[in-house]
Symmetry: C2
Subunit: 336 residues, 2 copies
């Protein structure tokens, strides 16, 4: 199945197909020098399956985890591109989760001011969310995604077969972003989460999430307007993630926690029930004041205000401008 | 005088006006947090003149020279933005030459995936050339401009009055890029260089160079086609610059040297006469083989070939695909 993404700066296709990993060379142009970027948590067979389809592959394996989303590791990828003589007609392929995609994407965006980038996401989280949208970044000074670029891939290849090697916790973690997408744009998908088994319906979940996200990104590539709806659950979620630090909760788990304070009273019990069914957390026991401090560096802050997304009902989101104090008050009311 | 630059991703104005520095706040929006980036070679009064027109200014002064175009200094600018709580609605202003513009522009392009960037070039070189076009970059691994972004400024403010503090060598250095522009696009401007005094006509030289460059960039923002004509003199020029290293010849001087081997036999004496009149070098005594090694990392190499711009006659440029061997042969014939 092909899901097109049409953008002013150039369009690309998302291919969603079981077994696509071993046919990647038929879908994307690997007949050149290819830097295959993966991490130590990804089965190495995946990167190797891609590499053996390339004319000339260099595999770089970075350590698993957010720690690799650093300016230093970014420099290492650029050095590998330089030392292997990559030119503007060569390319970078990410084989892994969001960390690998964000890092490799930023290297591809910046090397020679931009060479071709392909994303082959291997986690639920990256398949349903971060593979679409062109956001690339590294962390810096303790703040997530503070240095990066909007840079669209030339193509995205999603192979649901690779998900079978994920731990149950990673599988659930990714579903949090799909639940977010369903709440803001796709009531039917939310009802699927309520009534059906997620693992059995994973292709449908990926497809519907990707279609929703692609539609949003097509309307607002650079997050000037509508796209901010994708931040539903993320203002609080990113703050929780910052405070938790490395080794704490996963991104999707933080988003699960972050969505609940933004849901209307009537909707909240349904969301809570779905999150529990998916083994996602619904509570956080830390100090809301620490969250506010972390949130103050959020890119969603503009001057003194932060734009949050609230959700009185499914598919009925609102943008609200809150001060830091208002955000703190909501968090204190919820995380008590 | 306003010179508009119209691009698909957004348009901006170049304001060319004597005394513009002290009126910058009327031309660009400084009513917010502003990171003013300058270097130790720029009279500090210039950055201060801009800072005092800002609502909230932070001045960063990096050391003069190419050494500041590094990933480390880029990180320092990002850290300053972060530590001073810059949000997406704040901005970066470059006050200096090409080094400052390239570095500050890349920081603005990357911080939070892009905040507003203004360029106030203070050298002839940056006024006639690097302030227009949206190329930002740092050097890495000994290679110039290898990490960067295409990122357009929100506006460019050119004040020819600031040029009076330049040394004669820096003044001449900048004129090399204007000569290049005249050779490829503007015969009348080349004749001005032949028959008139450059210093007395500096406003005309800036205006005509900027108009030519803006027209090229409008047609080809990302250097996919026509824009490569701006690389006239730069394949050899960049290689000379690489081999010379820090403390050697200036960029414009290298471009002067790099243009001559690419000119037709009939044209070359005229170009040589103009370069001499402007106190620019016309010869280089190093080893062409070293040049080839440096050129091999040039972004203009695509696979095995490099696209060079040759100029049989004024305004009559050609793109030619050369192998490394062909490039070496031309350099050996010329630098003998």
């Amino acid at each position: 199945m092909i899901i097109p993404v049409r953008l002013p700066a150039g369009s690309y296709d998302i291919t969603l197909s079981r077994g696509a990993l071993s046919r990647a060379g038929e879908i994307i142009n690997l007949d050149r020098k290819v830097l295959v970027v993966t991490d130590s948590g990804v089965p190495k067979e995946y990167a190797e399956a891609v590499a053996k389809q390339c004319k000339n592959a260099v595999i770089i394996t970075v350590p698993e985890g957010e720690g690799s989303k650093s300016l230093e590791t970014f420099g290492e990828l650029c050095r590998a591109l330089l030392e292997n003589g990559f030119t503007r007609s060569d390319c970078v392929v990410a084989v892994g989760g969001g960390v690998v995609g964000d890092l490799a994407g930023f290297a591809a965006a910046s090397y020679m001011r931009g060479i071709d980038f392909y994303n082959i996401p291997t986690t639920v989280l990256s398949q349903v969310d971060s593979s679409v949208g062109g956001k690339t970044a590294v962390n810096f000074g303790g703040i997530k995604n503070i240095i990066g670029a909007f840079y669209q891939p030339k193509a995205v290849v999603i192979d649901p077969d690779v998900l079978k090697t994920l731990t149950p916790r990673h599988f659930s973690n990714g579903l949090a972003e799909a639940v977010k997408m369903s709440l803001t744009f796709d009531k039917e998908l939310f009802e699927l989460f309520e009534h059906e088994d997620a693992a059995e319906n994973i292709e449908t979940i990926i497809e519907r999430s990707v279609r929703s996200k692609a539609a949003v990104v097509e309307k607002d590539e650079h997050e000037a307007g509508l796209r901010r709806v994708l931040n539903f659950g993320h203002t609080v979620g990113h703050a929780v993630e910052s405070v938790e630090g490395l080794g704490g909760l996963y991104h999707g788990e933080c988003v699960a926690i972050g969505m609940l304070p933004m849901c209307g009273e009537g909707l909240r019990p349904r969301v809570e029930a779905v999150l529990k069914k998916l083994n996602l957390p619904t509570k956080w026991r830390g100090d809301p004041k620490e969250l506010l401090f972390a949130a103050a560096h959020d890119k969603k802050f503009s001057g003194e205000f932060v734009t949050v997304v609230t959700l009185p009902e499914i598919e009925n989101y609102r943008f609200e401008k809150w001060t830091g104090e208002e955000l703190l008050a909501r968090m204190e009311a919820f995380f008590k």
